[in-house]
């Protein structure tokens, strides 16, 4: 009898320890998932590389300058002059844009320097292909983590516990066939 009680006590303790371990594993998996989601948000929020931003600024300046010149109506200068003084029919905005176009290179350099200054306080930029590759890797890790979490939840359910799934659990994991979770 004593031996049986001893055996059952050992088994109960092992079961209690097992349940504790499962709870701990679930908690660690959830923390890991949370860290991965934070990493994902961080990568998504990272700016493009400085050189890319400077290139975009140069292109934007060039486009504005081209637009300023394309909008000009210079017919008053091309018509045969009679005794009138030649005039430019430009409003204030057109004049400002013309001045901008004449200084396009300087403007681009100015914006480039401003961007370089701004990037000093920003997280390091990341190129589009590197961003996509990093996000894909994080997504794969996240899915693996979600599947491991779901496997742990199902194991606990089979043992009679009722752990709560996360409200934002990945549907692919909660709907996964049992065979996918091994």
């Amino acid at each position: 009898m004593a031996a049986l009680i001893e055996k059952l006590t050992t088994r109960r303790k092992a079961a209690t320890k097992g349940a504790g371990d499962a709870r701990k594993a679930l908690s660690e998996l959830r923390q890991m998932g949370s860290r991965l989601r934070d990493q994902r948000a961080d990568i998504e929020a990272r700016p493009v590389p400085l050189a890319e931003a400077q290139d975009a600024a140069a292109q934007a300046v060039l486009r504005e300058a081209e637009g300023a010149i394309a909008d000009l109506n210079l017919s008053s200068l091309t018509r045969p002059q009679d005794c009138r003084t030649p005039t430019l029919s430009l409003d204030a905005r057109q004049m400002a844009m013309l001045a901008f176009a004449s200084q396009a290179e300087g403007m681009a350099a100015l914006l480039s320097a401003a961007l370089a200054e701004q990037y000093r306080d920003m997280p390091q930029g990341i190129a589009a292909d590197e961003r996509a590759a990093t996000l894909a890797k994080i997504d794969a890790d996240l899915l693996a983590c979600e599947l491991a979490e779901e496997a742990t939840v199902r194991e606990q359910e089979r043992e009679g516990a009722a752990p709560l799934r996360r409200g934002d659990a990945d549907p692919r994991a909660v709907l996964a066939n049992d065979a996918e979770l091994r």
């Binding site: 709560l164 799934r165 409200g167 549907p171």
Partner: protein
């Protein structure tokens, strides 16, 4: 990845169980609240009916029971809040999985398919 739409039934069952537990806790809380109200009425009666010499002794026991009932009610309220939170989380898990399965066009169990009662009947035209 192989998905099993029957998992939706399991998630729905969990949602039902959690909701039922939450409702049971709400019923228990209401019962406790009624018991507390009865005890307070009882105390009021003692205060009206007994003379000052016996009042303190009779009130003492009732006050102790009132305090115990108040503690129990506070605990039950906390428990009900926890169960309500769990019920809501289980509902979100189920709903997300259901919406995903619908969006992916998976073959849902009959009782989880969106109900479609057909197109509305054409209006009857007079003198047709």
């Amino acid at each position: 990845m192989k998905l099993d739409v029957n998992r939706l039934n399991h998630l729905r069952m969990i949602r039902r169980d959690r909701l039922a537990a939450c409702r049971a806790a709400a019923d228990d809380r209401l019962e406790l609240r009624d018991r507390l109200r009865d005890l307070e009425r009882h105390r009021a009666r003692i205060e009206m009916n007994h003379g000052p010499d016996r009042e303190a002794e009779a009130l003492d026991g009732t006050n102790r029971r009132i305090e115990a009932a108040k503690r129990e009610l506070a605990e039950m309220t906390d428990r009900e809040n926890e169960l309500a939170q769990a019920s809501s989380t289980a509902g979100q898990t189920f709903q997300r999985a259901l919406e995903y399965a619908q969006a992916k066009g998976l073959d849902l169990p009959d009782d989880l398919r969106p109900q479609d009662f057909g197109a509305p009947a054409a209006p009857v035209q007079e003198n047709a």
